[in-house]
């Protein structure tokens, strides 16, 4: 997290806000609710009390404006900058402006006003931007379900560094605040791993790391900052070299990516892979380039799927232990890269040679993450 130079903050715990005008994008009552909820995000974890007034000058004046609106920070039309807010101080300090050229909503269409406002009020209370992609104070907009939204640990530590914690909330920092997965956590486990046209994508919770053979470092993003339609916490993924598609599985649904674009007509039912009825979730999947088969892992068993014939091969399922001796009973994720197979299980990754049918190395799960 970051704060403004001099750790600018309000020197009082009771603040006021006033909504000077309303966006025509949403019913006025919905705007009021979104703004109120957005302040509540911060008052829940601090001693601050923030109340609405309907006339006069409030500490935090809220405006919907377009283009050059007289504060030396003009907006830029649809897209680009969505809003901005000023650090705590008298006068314009705390004031929050939304770009009326955007479309604000209560849902996932356009830009969710609650999410944008909660971020901007972080600034209005004294927070700068965070480079933690899971933090609310990350500068790039990324839709999350407002119903399940919660501040990240990073956000909470930031705001509490300015105002301390909420004396009425027993344990601080809020114990269940989500932490962004750390690539260098020795205990890191993964949800899914796949290649994508020479890159590798490693999924964890609502994030993924993107590793390119041309870049030394690995980039971390929220899944929804690339694909708002995709779910978090995916189960498995593999790249079909035949079809130049990446399949992503969650529950009994499957999505397809063509490059970085979501393929039309998805999600589809996983039943299209011909798995036995009753299988509503898979653990991992990998594409075996030698055979052109897709290996699908479920519990301590695995299936071989023939993409050309669109069906499961005869004689399956087989036990993972018999097919891949030495990698243990169950896998979290699997990927083939440069002719070797990699099986992820908890904090360990097994490098496996399909020809010699044996484990070559046992490495850390974060081996590819450049720690």
């Amino acid at each position: 997290y970051s704060t403004f130079p001099g750790a600018l903050k309000w020197n009082k715990n009771s603040l006021t806000y006033r909504i000077e005008n309303y966006t025509p994008d949403m019913p006025q009552a919905d705007v009021d609710k979104a703004i109120e909820k957005a302040f509540a995000v911060w008052t829940k974890v601090t001693p601050l009390k923030i109340t609405q007034i309907y006339s006069g000058t409030a500490d935090i004046m809220i405006l919907f404006v377009t283009g050059d609106h007289g504060d030396n920070s003009p907006f830029d039309g649809p897209g680009g900058f969505l809003a901005h807010a000023f650090a705590p101080s008298d006068g314009i300090g705390g004031d929050t402006h939304f770009d009326e050229d955007e479309t604000f909503t209560s849902g996932s269409a356009g830009y969710n006003l609650f999410l944008v406002a909660a971020h901007e009020f972080g600034h209005a209370l004294g927070l700068g931007h965070s480079n933690d992609p899971g933090a609310l104070m990350y500068p790039i907009y990324s839709y999350v379900n407002p119903g399940t939204f919660s501040l990240s640990q990073d956000d909470i530590q930031g705001i509490e560094s300015l105002y301390g914690s909420n004396p009425n909330v027993p344990n601080n920092p809020v114990p269940d605040a989500p932490k962004t997965p750390n690539a260098c956590d020795p205990n890191l486990s993964l949800n899914a791993v796949t290649t994508l046209r020479g890159e590798m994508m490693l999924f964890k919770d609502r994030f993924f790391w993107r590793k390119s053979p041309f870049m030394a470092n690995v980039e971390q993003y929220t899944i929804k900052s690339f694909w708002p339609e995709l779910p978090d916490d995916i189960d498995a993924a593999y790249e079909s070299r035949e079809r130049d598609l990446v399949y992503l599985f969650k529950g009994n649904q499957v999505w397809a990516l063509f490059g970085y674009d979501i393929q039309q007509g998805y999600p589809q039912s996983m039943q299209k892979f011909g798995l036995p009825a009753g299988i509503n979730k898979i653990d991992a999947a990998l594409y075996n380039e030698n055979t052109g088969k897709v290996l699908i892992f479920v519990g301590n068993k695995y299936y071989s799927y023939d993409e050309a014939r669109r069906r499961i091969d005869k004689g399956y399922p087989k036990s993972i232990e018999s097919g891949f001796p030495g990698i243990g009973g169950k896998v979290d994720a699997a990927v083939e890269d440069n002719g070797l197979m990699y099986f992820f299980s908890g904090s360990r990754m097994f490098e496996y040679n399909m020809m010699s049918k044996r484990v070559i190395r046992v490495l850390a799960t974060n081996y590819f993450l450049g720690c």
């Binding site: 920070s73 969505l82 901005h84 770009d99 700068g128 931007h129 500068p139 470092n217 980039e219």
Partner: protein, 83 residues
């Protein structure tokens, strides 16, 4: 024969202008015009590196496609570095 000026790809020009404006607003790049081309070019490289570092991108100092992709994402208009 005379050298016909090779018109740089229009898009490249636009992308460079876009990036300069982005860095001016969010990373304190001083104005992109002025007499000292080398100094301006160095500053642009440094500010690009600063932005790439903030977003965990490959720190190249050049306007690669990844960097441009991040610059084009919808975001908050408050600078990433303290003005």
């Amino acid at each position: 024969a005379y050298a016909v000026p090779i018109l740089r790809d229009n898009t490249e020009e636009e992308n460079t202008e876009f990036a300069q404006e982005y860095l001016q607003k969010l990373y304190n790049l001083t104005s992109s015009s002025g007499p000292n081309f080398r100094r301006r070019s160095n500053e642009l490289t440094e500010k690009l590196k600063e932005m790439q570092k903030f977003f965990g991108l490959q720190v190249t100092g050049t306007l690669d496609s990844n960097t441009l992709e991040v610059m084009k994402k919808s975001r908050c208009g408050v600078p990433d570095v303290a003005h």
